[in-house]
Symmetry: D2
Subunit: 109 residues, 4 copies
C-alpha cells in the first residue's frame, strides 16, 4: 500500500470509529480545510516570516492535510496524480523563460 | 523513495527552475495555502454540499496540497508522521465513548 | 438614517433586484466573507507588507464589507453595537498594563 | 461625525492605548481579517445553514469588522464610498436581465 493510502486508511478508521462520516460531506470538508489553514496562518500573525512555533506548525499543518486527504478520498481523487497534473499545467501558465525570478501572476507576466 | 517525497521532489524542481525559493518563506506559504483553500471553498459557494464541479475540485485541491507539501518541506516535516501523531492526539480529545455520532467540539463534549 | 443602514439598504436593493436572497443563507454568507477576505489576502502574497495595489485593496475590501453587512442584516445585528461591545470585552482580555507593546495572545500574556 | 468614523475612532483609541500600531501593517491586518472570518466560518461547520449560535456570530463578525475598519483606515479608504462603487461595478458584471435568480459567476452567465 502507498504511503498516502496508509494515511487515509488511518484517517478513515478514526472517522468511522466515531461515526462521523455523516458530517463529512464535501462542502463541510472544504470548510474544515479553510478553518485549519487559517489556524495555521494565525501562527504567523504579527510576526516575521520565520518566527512561527514549529511544533504548532506541525499540528495545524497536520489538520490541513487530514481534511485535504479526507476530501480527496471522498471524491476518489489520487493525490499524486492531481499534483503532478497541476505542475504540468502550471508549467504552461508559468514558462521558465517568463516566470524566472518573478512572483507575478501568470496574467501579468 | 516514498510517494510523498516524489511529489515534493517534483514541486521543488518546478520551483527551482523558476528561481522561486526566494519568495517561499514560511509565512507566505501559509498565506498561499489559505488562498488556495479559499478557491476550493468557492466551488461550493451558494451550492448544495455535493454540487461542486469535480474537475475543478481536483485543480484547487492540488494547489492546496502543493503549498502544504512545500511548507512541510520548508520545516523538514514528515507528513505521515505528523498526521498519525495528530490522529493519536485527537483520539484523546475525542474519545469514542463521548464523541461517537456527534459533531460537537471537544470542549463541548 | 445612519451611514451603515444606508449602505445595507443599497446592498439589499442590489440583491433583491437579482432575486438572490434565496442563496444568501447565513452559512453561505460566511463562506462568501472568507472567499473575499482571501482575495484581499492574495494582494499581499509574496510581497512586503505595504506593496499591495491600493485600488485592488479597495475592491476586495469592499466585497468583504458587503457580505459582512449582509450577514449582519440577516441576523438583525447592529454593527456599531457589536464592535463597541467587542472592544469592551477585549479591554478585559488585553488590559493595557499587560498588553502594551506586545503582540502576544491573551492566553500567553 | 459619521457612525463609521466613530467606530474607527474607538478602535484606534483601543489600539493606541496598547501601542499596537507597530504590528498593524496592511499585510498582517489582511491576515487578521482572514483569521477572524475563518473563526466566524467555524460556527457553521458540520451544521445546517441556520444553526450557528447567534451570540457567537456577533462576536466573530465584530472581529471581522474591527480589522476591516482598521485596514480601511490604514489606507484612508472611505468604506461607504468603496461599497457603493463596488455595487455599481457589480451592476455591470451582473445585469439584472442575466443574473436574476441564478447564483452563477459573471463569467458563466
Amino acid at each position: 500500500m502507498t504511503e498516502i493510502k496508509e494515511i487515509i486508511q488511518e484517517l478513515i478508521k478514526f472517522r468511522n470509529e466515531r461515526d462521523w462520516e455523516q458530517f463529512h460531506n464535501p462542502k463541510d470538508l472544504a470548510l474544515a480545510i479553510n478553518i485549519e489553514a487559517s489556524e495555521l496562518l494565525e501562527l504567523f500573525l504579527w510576526k516575521n516570516a520565520d518566527e512561527a512555533d514549529k511544533e504548532k506548525v506541525k499540528e495545524e499543518l497536520a489538520d490541513v492535510f487530514a481534511f485535504a486527504f479526507l476530501l480527496a478520498n471522498k471524491y476518489k481523487i489520487d493525490v499524486k496524480e492531481i499534483v503532478l497534473e497541476k505542475i504540468k499545467k502550471n508549467g504552461e501558465k508559468y514558462p521558465v523563460a517568463k516566470a524566472k525570478g518573478t512572483a507575478k501572476k501568470y496574467d501579468e507576466l
